[in-house]
């Protein structure tokens, strides 16, 4: 055998091994043993991994014929990006539990998800569990349901009670004018350099479309009692309430109640500002990192003066979908039902500190002990029936981007009036929707 033949022989061998490895990666486990095998992707945060581990262990021991293997969503910049890659590569799991409702419309259009309302027991498992307004919001344009409502993180305002007391503000704000009144007292120049170094509140001034979930959209939901941004394929946010919300933020920046800056790290716990717009996940964070003597409380989103009734907010929901690549939609649905059962909803609360999308959380005895031990979570649980999701439209990200651009111009930079800002956002959104 010549030297070159040896080299080419070795090279072919290496290539063969590499090809075999790649083929091996995609190989399906044998189905010969009659056991149905499902793959379930959960969120990659450590608490949800722990939850998935517990739930899957219980399911597998009770269902030897349907074995579930769970895996955290593979690393990527966002879950949505990873799922898109998986959809393109046809490597989606049977079901996934960290789906942002705003992305489902796109999956439906592409035909990659299973309609779950055709599954047995959908009404009992989903429609009786979830607030009606959310079930309606999740309905696809073709009238079917493609997502199984799972968890929610209602957005509220965390207040630093120490700073409120120090500023002489006796009650926490409920309306726009109470907010301004408190803000006037909370802004301070502590080092005497002529510039404020403590503010009433803070919002990231970046123009990422999703940043508007925590300012414009949350306040819009509160001001309109949970109205949607779109009505089918028409813009519905071009209204007086939206203008008022823009005016609220615009005044806040103009009067210096909020800094036009970006903070790194937790400036709220460093007491640089007194009100933090956040979700229930921040309770554990505050408890872990708060300085000694730090007192805090959560309040609903302020509403326009004269507003009556419950205060709505954005729910930052995450749902479950079954991908159409599954060969066992029935079993996947059964596992999803198990995942949203009362017992597992309690585990979601206990292990992750996140709320299930369940109407009766505070009335149900299953959860009574948990809320007894976690009084802060009770406030968020009370908000669950009054949360809104994002509109079920494949263009919703672009619509949020249009709003974000105008929010930047009208509220942060103050180069447009609130009226002009909303009118321009609506105009741009109409163009986006008509192009679709």
């Amino acid at each position: 055998m010549t030297h070159t033949t040896k080299i080419s022989g070795s090279f072919i061998l290496v290539l063969f091994i590499i090809v075999q490895i790649f083929l091996g990666c995609g190989a399906k486990k044998s189905q010969e043993d009659g056991v149905v095998r499902l793959t379930y992707w959960c969120s990659s945060n450590q608490f949800e991994i722990e939850l998935a581990q517990t739930v899957v262990r219980e399911w597998n021991s009770a269902h030897p014929g349907v074995q579930v293997a769970f895996q955290p969503i593979p690393a990527g910049q966002s879950s949505e990006e990873v799922l898109l890659a998986a959809i393109v590569g046809k490597t989606t799991p049977d079901l996934c539990s960290n789906i942002w409702p705003g992305s489902v419309a796109q999956y439906v259009e592409a035909g990659v998800v299973v309609a779950v309302d055709t599954m047995p027991g959908f009404h009992e498992a989903v429609e009786l569990r979830t607030p009606e307004s959310l079930v309606k919001a999740y309905r696809s344009r073709d009238g079917h349901q493609y997502q199984i409502p799972w968890k929610t993180n209602p957005i509220m305002i965390e207040c630093n009670l120490g700073l409120f007391r120090e500023a002489g503000v006796e009650s926490l704000p409920k309306t726009y004018s109470e907010f301004y009144e408190a803000a006037e007292k909370l802004v301070r120049d502590r080092d005497g350099d002529g510039y404020a170094d403590q503010w009433a509140a803070y919002r990231d001034v970046k123009v990422d479309w999703w940043q508007r979930f925590f300012d414009f959209y949350t306040f819009y939901a509160a001001a309109t009692d949970g109205k949607a941004l779109l009505d089918g394929n028409r813009v519905a946010f071009n209204n007086a309430e939206a203008v008022e919300v823009f005016r609220f933020w615009s005044e806040g920046y103009r009067k210096g109640y909020l800094p036009n800056a970006r903070f790194e790290g937790d400036a709220f716990l460093l007491e640089k500002y007194a009100m933090h717009i956040t979700g229930p996940w921040n309770i554990a964070h505050t408890e872990k990192f708060k300085p000694e003597g730090f007192e805090y409380d959560f309040i609903p989103i302020p509403v326009p003066d004269g507003h009556k009734g419950p205060v709505y907010t954005y729910g930052d929901q995450k749902n479950i979908v079954i991908f159409s690549t599954t060969r066992h939609p029935g079993q996947a649905w059964e596992f999803a039902r198990f995942l949203i059962s009362k017992e597992n909803d309690l585990k979601l609360l206990e292990l992750c500190g996140q709320l299930p999308q369940r109407v009766s959380l505070l009335k149900d005895s299953t959860f009574a002990d948990y809320f007894e031990r976690n009084p802060m979570m009770r406030k968020f649980a009370a908000q669950v029936p009054y949360t809104v999701a994002v509109d079920n439209s494949p263009y919703i990200q672009e619509v949020f981007d249009a709003i974000s651009q105008e929010y930047d111009a009208a509220c942060i930079m103050g180069v447009k009036t609130p009226e002009q800002g909303i009118a321009d956002a609506a105009k741009r959104s109409r163009t986006i929707l008509s192009r679709g």
Binding site: S8, D193, A196, V207, R262, I412
Partner: protein, 317 residues
């Protein structure tokens, strides 16, 4: 073909032509076999090139005539992507922003890098340390540098404004004003990339023959004259290289606005590549993004061609 024919190898054979043919075949076979092994050795690169350069390029070309959101089917739209681009105000804005960045960044970078290289080319104490120190930002991750500078630039809590107010000057809205944001990013990018160009200029400076300076000194030329009349013309190839590299790098401006401003305030830092990225990976408008990508490639080609025509000169050494 065998270079010298078979005659040299088998003189005196009766059936020359038969043997010659057989030899020719053997040599040809050997060469072909050698080629095959050669191809095998270069195949990793060829596979890499086909997968990661040729295929994406061809695919992008196909994309520019289509509407595609990654998960749905592609839809032929002809030249619609280009027509929409021409009418898209943000397309023109992102081009203008990128040119603003280039106009500030390239001259600033060249001048500062050249001055620093000239200083580091002199005999001085701790020269090796300073050369290393100037190069350090180049090897640090761009994202890390950007996050660090973002904190320096913070209007209300940043180090720069703390220093300014300490000496009685007003605060500067580095990243929160439409006028200051892009120059601030250009300043940061200059600091980050300068080390690389210092190294290039140092190499260029060390290649300038000593006798030119000695002759100039004898003729009575001062240091400034020597620098302007000898150094600058002599390092023209390095200047051309630096201009071209920094132009291409400048057109690829992405990490800095992506991390620091997301294109704001009021899209004043929306660069071409950031806009392409947003269209492709936020809104999944792959065809639209590909169309802009192709236009950008041709713009870069045009700008670099003009730069070469303007900057490049014959060098006498």
């Amino acid at each position: 073909m065998p270079p010298n024919g078979p005659e040299r190898f088998c003189p005196g054979d009766k059936d020359r032509s038969k043997i010659a043919k057989s030899l020719r075949m053997k040599i040809k076979h050997k060469i072909e076999k050698g080629n095959r092994v050669g191809y095998l050795f270069v195949s990793p690169y060829i596979i890499f090139f086909l997968l990661f350069t040729a295929y994406p390029l061809i695919f992008s070309f196909v994309l520019i005539f289509h509407k595609w959101n990654i998960i749905g089917p592609m839809r032929w739209v002809g030249l619609d992507n280009f027509i929409t681009l021409i009418h898209d105000a943000l397309f023109w804005k992102s081009l203008a922003n990128t040119f603003i960045f280039l106009v500030i960044h390239i001259p600033l970078q060249i001048v500062l890098a050249l001055i620093a290289a000239e200083m580091l080319n002199q005999k001085m104490r701790l020269r090796v340390f300073f050369r290393g120190a100037f190069f350090l930002p180049v090897v640090i991750s761009g994202v890390v540098v950007t996050i660090l500078w973002q904190q320096f630039y913070s209007t209300d809590t940043g180090l720069f404004n703390a220093l300014l107010t300490h000496i009685g000057l007003p605060r500067v809205p580095w990243l929160t004003s439409t006028k200051a944001a892009m120059p601030s990013i250009a300043l940061m990018a200059t600091w980050k990339n300068m080390g690389l160009y210092i190294v290039l200029f140092l190499a260029g400076l060390q290649g300038v023959p000593r006798y030119l300076y000695e002759a100039a000194e004898i003729d009575g030329a001062g240091k400034l004259q020597q620098f302007l009349k000898i150094t600058i013309p002599a390092i023209n190839p390095t200047v051309v290289l630096v201009v071209i590299i920094s132009t291409i790098g400048g057109f690829s401006l992405f990490i800095e606005p992506y991390v620091m401003t997301q294109g704001g305030p009021l899209n004043s830092t929306m660069s071409c590549v950031l806009y392409i990225y947003k269209q492709a990976f936020t809104f999944y408008k792959m065809g639209y993004a590909a169309a802009f990508g192709f236009i950008l490639a041709f713009i870069i080609l045009g700008v670099v061609w003009v730069q070469r025509k303007v900057v490049e000169t014959e060098v006498y050494t």
